[in-house]
């Protein structure tokens, strides 16, 4: 393949799923292709230095004069860039969004540009494919599913020590630990995590419920914290904010609970699977596609009681839990490892370049 100049447009450089996945893809391409990589950050974030280590980083003011053979929009949140892009380059859009974002985060002009300007849509789950067709009206023939991935070996490397918070070590007292991770915005549903904790406590008191990532206080989470305190769960349900090594927390979880209302294909589920932590999730997320066939437990959204039942079953059923963990571990290695998924994405990019 003739080396090409590929410009990756990211809506920001936050430590969240889409920018992290992009970084992994860029590093892969750096090692496995001769393409020249440029990153356009529409907004900043803690990963800016990581992007700069891959190649040149420019800002939104450089979009109009962008010299590239292919522009890779990393999310539909980067769609506003289409308004100022020059006509020449091919365009790929990697879609990590479901109905809510497709409807409310971009406007009709953005959706129109997506329909008419993008050559290929790479989506992270079948659920996203359906949402893209439903909310944006994209022709299904231009859509390919490329599930999210993690570097399984890196995630599972070593045995992280149990995570500590303050003077306490999670799970050290032998209690069950039901954990969650993500930002604390409404879509990720910290309110339902609290409801889940209350429901599990009714069945099996004495658990710990850490939520890793997002805010540990402030307007986004204050309502949930107030509810938590009124439920008497102040000591057991803890929002610990961003952590330098989330793996250490995940490794201490007995069960990973994905309580999101809307989540296209969360990488945290893959990380939990790589660490041997069983996952329960609502069927409103793309995680259901990974968790199918005995790789996890999926319950109808927003059935918190059913999720609590599933959690308690996983705590009690040693053999069933082991089988589920092993199936998930096999699947994440087979289908969602960097070494498997990144070459497929590279092939997709190069097929658009060649078209």
């Amino acid at each position: 393949m003739t080396p090409a100049r590929v410009a990756f447009v990211s809506h920001n450089a936050s430590r969240s799923g889409a920018p992290l996945l992009l970084l992994q893809l860029q590093r892969w391409l750096l090692d496995h292709s001769d393409h020249e990589l440029v990153t356009v950050l529409l907004d900043g974030g803690p990963l800016e230095a990581d992007f700069a280590a891959v190649g040149p980083v420019v800002g939104p003011d450089d979009l109009a004069g962008l010299d590239a053979d292919l522009v890779y929009l990393n999310t539909v949140g980067a769609a506003p860039a289409l308004a100022v892009l020059p006509d020449g380059p091919k365009v790929v859009c990697h879609v990590h969004e479901l109905d809510y974002a497709l409807t409310h985060w971009i406007d009709e002009a953005d959706r129109d540009r997506l329909r008419h300007r993008v050559d290929r849509f790479l989506v992270v789950s079948q659920l996203v494919r359906a949402a893209l067709e439903r909310c944006v009206g994209v022709d299904p023939g231009r859509v390919e599913v490329h599930y999210g991935f993690v570097d399984v070996a890196a995630v599972a490397a070593g045995a992280p020590a149990p995570a500590a918070s303050g003077t306490r070590v999670i799970g050290a007292s032998g209690t069950h630990v039901i954990g969650a991770s993500g930002t604390t915005e409404w879509r990720k549903a910290p309110d339902l995590f609290l409801a889940l904790a209350a429901a599990v406590e009714r069945r099996r008191p004495g658990g710990e419920y850490p939520w890793v990532g997002g805010a540990d206080r402030g307007p986004e989470i204050d309502g949930v914290l107030a509810d938590r305190d009124r439920l008497g769960l102040t000591d057991s349900v803890r929002f610990v904010g961003e952590q330098p090594d989330a793996r250490a927390w995940f490794a201490a979880f007995d069960v990973f609970a994905l309580v999101s209302r809307d989540d296209p294909f969360p990488l945290t589920v893959l990380e939990a699977a790589a660490l041997g932590v069983p996952v329960v999730a609502f069927d409103s997320t793309g995680a259901r596609e990974f968790l199918a066939d005995g790789c996890g437990v999926v319950v109808p959204y927003p059935d918190v009681e059913a999720m609590a039942d599933a959690v308690v079953r996983l705590l009690d059923d040693g053999p069933g839990r082991a089988a589920l963990v092993e199936a998930a571990r096999r699947r994440v290695r087979a289908d969602h490892d960097l070494g498997v998924a990144a070459p497929r994405l590279q092939a997709a990019i190069e097929s658009v370049l060649a078209s």
Partner: protein
């Protein structure tokens, strides 16, 4: 004294300002009637409503005692919590001597006037805490001496804001009487049948479906998210044909968008309706009123049910717990949607229980909020203060 005798009441008020404390007193005086009340009053200062008050009862004003140095010294000493040489004279001139069945302070701000009361054989003291007064008190607190005097002397605190935390000031709960602010919307006539039929048609409420109502802002404290989840639970988990109408969705566009997303993803489209206040008549379609609010002050959480003669089901929050004493509401533990769904189902299946509950809700509401029932309740509290 029998209940038929007029209550000999000494009213102490901080001033005759046009504020909730004075309005509250004027309302009580108007509703009580001369047969029930033989009252006189002492105010620390005058104000624009003094004439209106004097139309109902004699009012002495400390500030009018005279402008001489002795009076000024007396007022200063009273402010400092001490009694000067002219105290006995002032007391007589203010008219606080003689037979008194009860003392009624229209506000904690009248606390300095408690020094005029006899220290022996002191009549029972009842303090009204009007809406917003405790918030104000936190910003402009009484002096330590006045606060001590208030707490030491008062037999009953009557609290209009049910979110007030008098306990924080060290008041034992058995000295606190909960009541609400006067509510002029009570007994509002329901919509005519044609309007209800129009609403049922517009909302496509199926024949035979049960209807649950909720109301309030869409923001977190209003609890509309919990109402939607309750509807999901009843329909999806329990198979009930139930429709929800939520009134108060005029503002809060972000929360509305999020709720609409949930309604769609819970397969509740056309089964849960978020309506503006203009469509408040839709509340009258309900078989039950469900209060899922987290923290909304009285009377908002229970007024819709009381006005419409509906049963009330909700979470055990401060406000509802106080209102629903003696069965004026079916309450479950905070945020326990499973138990809330149980209570709703039980009542939907028992029309007689629903009707009885609605009656208790209405009676409590009138007692707390609707003049003159509210005034009767206040007078009863004054009579039985000790």
């Amino acid at each position: 004294m029998t209940s038929a005798d007029p209550l000999r009441l000494l009213v102490l008020l901080p001033d005759a300002a046009d504020d909730p404390a004075t309005q509250e007193l004027l309302g009580v005086l108007a509703d009580a009637g001369d047969d029930a009340l033989a009252a006189r009053a002492v105010a620390w200062d005058g104000g624009p409503r003094l004439a209106a008050l004097r139309g109902h009862l004699p009012v002495s004003v400390v500030a009018d005692l005279g402008g001489g140095p002795a009076a000024a010294l007396e007022r200063a000493l009273l402010r400092l919590g001490r009694r000067g040489a002219g105290f006995a004279v002032r007391r007589r001139r203010l008219g606080v001597r003689g037979a008194i069945d009860a003392v009624y302070l229209t506000s904690p701000r009248a606390a300095p006037l408690l020094r005029f009361l006899p220290e022996r054989a002191r009549p029972p003291v009842v303090v009204m805490v009007p809406l917003g007064e405790m918030t104000q008190a936190e910003h402009e607190p009484l002096s330590d001496e006045d606060r001590d005097l208030l707490l030491r002397t008062t037999d009953r605190f009557v609290v209009a804001s049910l979110l007030d935390r008098l306990e924080r000031l060290g008041v034992p709960s058995d000295r606190i009487v909960r009541i609400g602010a006067p509510d002029d919307g009570a007994g509002a006539p329901g919509p005519d049948p044609a309007r209800l039929a129009e609403l049922r048609g517009r909302l496509a409420v199926p024949e035979g479906a049960d209807v649950l109502a909720g109301s309030g802002p869409l923001v977190w404290r209003g609890g509309a998210d919990l109402f939607v989840r309750l509807l999901w639970m009843l329909r999806a988990r329990r198979g009930r044909d139930v429709v929800g109408v939520w009134v108060g969705a005029d503002a809060d566009p972000l929360e509305r968008r999020q709720l609409e997303h949930d309604i769609a993803h819970m397969d509740l489209a056309g089964r849960v309706h978020l309506l503006a206040d203009d469509d408040a008549d839709a509340l009258s379609m309900a078989d039950l009123h469900v209060v899922t609010s987290r923290e909304v002050d009285a009377p908002e959480p229970y007024r819709p049910a009381a006005e419409r003669g509906q049963g009330l089901v909700g979470f055990r929050t401060d406000v509802l717990d106080r209102f629903a004493t003696d069965g004026a509401g079916e309450l479950v533990e905070f945020l326990d949607l499973e138990r809330l769904a149980d209570a709703v189902e039980r009542l939907l299946d028992d029309a007689a229980a629903r009707t009885a509950l609605a009656g208790r809700v209405r009676a409590r509401f009138e007692e707390w909020h609707v003049p003159p029932a509210r005034t009767r309740f206040l007078l009863q509290t004054l009579r039985s203060a000790r």
